[in-house]
Point group: C2
Chain length 346, copies 2
Amino acid sequence: MAGKQAEDREPTQAGKARSDINDVARMARVSRQTVSNVLNNRTGYSEETRARVLVAIEALDYQPHRAARSLRSQRTMQLGYHMPGEQLAADNAFVLGFIQALVRAAADHGHHVLVFTDQGDELEVFRELVAIRGVDGFILSGSRGDDPRARYLHQAGVPFALFGRTAPSLPQSWVDIDSVAGASSAVDYLVGKGHESFAYVGYDAKPWDVERLEGFRKGLADHGIRVGERSIILGDTLDAVHGDVLRLLGRKRRPTAIVSGSDVLAAVAVNAAKSLGLRIGQDVAVTGFDGGFVQQMTEPVLTSVRIPVDRIAAELIACCLREIDEGTVQSAGILIPTEIAPGGSA
Amino acid sequence: MAGKQAEDREPTQAGKARSDINDVARMARVSRQTVSNVLNNRTGYSEETRARVLVAIEALDYQPHRAARSLRSQRTMQLGYHMPGEQLAADNAFVLGFIQALVRAAADHGHHVLVFTDQGDELEVFRELVAIRGVDGFILSGSRGDDPRARYLHQAGVPFALFGRTAPSLPQSWVDIDSVAGASSAVDYLVGKGHESFAYVGYDAKPWDVERLEGFRKGLADHGIRVGERSIILGDTLDAVHGDVLRLLGRKRRPTAIVSGSDVLAAVAVNAAKSLGLRIGQDVAVTGFDGGFVQQMTEPVLTSVRIPVDRIAAELIACCLREIDEGTVQSAGILIPTEIAPGGSA
DNA sequence: CGTGAGTGCTTGAACGTTCAAGCTCTCCGG
DNA sequence: CCGGAGAGCTTGAACGTTCAAGCACTCACG
């Protein structure tokens, strides 16, 4: 049943071993070191030599052996991304897009991404990766305040960049979105559409949830609009939020616009509104926050505050590599603005 | 603004370089090779020596240098996972959980996972990774029929395992879920709850979509239940499906149970039913397919055919490592059964 | 008591790069 | 015509492991 020798799986490369740097050197009639220099765009060779080397590389289809390079140069050309180990929850749609963006951004700089996660002890897995020198640096995400991973890496002298913010006591590279401005921009957008009566639906768990609510309040204040506390729904479970939205929209003077701190909760609000017979985008406007694929899951498509993952990933990788290459820490963080991604819901 | 020397980031390790295998050997009063043998659980040393070596390893906090190991042994202890490069869509909730499961399963065998994706040429990125010997093998996903990635890897003689099925012409390791049995089991479950009148909501794009519908039909046939073609909704857009479900449930003799080939579409069906004032789980039952976090996004929670990602990941990693270690290909694939994850919707 | 087969351990070499130091020209200023 | 600098290239060593051989000693067997 099982078992078939793998030998017969290599029909083409019969005996012909992979070529190494010496083969290239021999063919180009130069020394190994010169090949190495060309490969790493160093100086110290003529234009003519360079051309000969490149021809040989091409002809032999040579690519340097990653492990050999790493051993000598002490650079792995790999970055580690710590994937949240928690039970997968609502904003995971976001994480997947983020990983994809990270991988692409790293590839732009010739690096690969090692994705890892922890089970139990969060730091253990970092310690191991640092000990075996498996990566050159780390990308962390989902942090506000004092992050034990950041503290450990800092103390261990390992470069890293953080998506989110930490306690400003340590100098470290971080990139974050401007959640306050994002939520505030949703209000601007709705005001621009003529809305005057608002409600908010969001989580209450993470620091950025608080910031989004704060942004909502700021946005209203900017336009001199007041909002009652009863119009602010902060829910843990989708059930509870669903019920609260029903109650909210059942009121005599119901709001015409609902700003949400999450696409998923916005979807819940859309459903609740629909079940009351309200037309989304006409009787009531709803905006979300994320812009992942959940945005497409409502009908009509959600208008959402999009988190620009590509920008974020690019900055994170750039920060991390700068730290690796130059040994310097970008002590000021980077705040990335969000964008409104208009759908039919507002 | 920017720029702070990283020097002062290493307060603890002043000069004290990391210890290598020779340090351990010296401390345990044995040779490098003996340390190496202990490390790799080989034979050729006494129990007493082994103990001394372990003490030394502990004392020096020694961990072997990954790159050095790789160079000599030609094993990277890394597996590559090719993340679908397409625009992120509905079943991405699934992919994220899958990655997490893969990472964990690989870790159980002392391996790390390199996640990569392509932009444009799908094979290019494989060729590079193979050329630099960046991984020992690959995990592919999302394939039915003739997969160019599988073809390439096979021809290059690189071990890999496939989530999905390919043309049976090539002997290769694959693991897949039994979609037909899965959809069929949803019908069984609903029949067990007393339902007699069914409808189906699903996609039509991928091979497994077809299989799920097939399973639905088979499940009905098993119970001698007939279904009209008008009760089978195959949609591309959520909008269209939403409308079709409204029409379906608006019929005089409406079905009491809706089986769906996707949690997302099941969620759409739930919303549509709610907007007609139907009580989910009572007036109409709905089941999904996936069991990712989308399952939690409806109210009540969706009853769904869960894809056991942990099992799948474990089998994939095991297959791939077997191929790497023993050079043998498991020529028969593995079909993993799904499980019904009951929620309140059916 | 010589021989063959373990058992337990050591040693030099190798894996495929890059580092650090050197070597050989040429060219230019004094 | 000597000295110094630089351009262009080479060479031995090193990175930290594992491989492949070998060595010394013990023990059983004929």
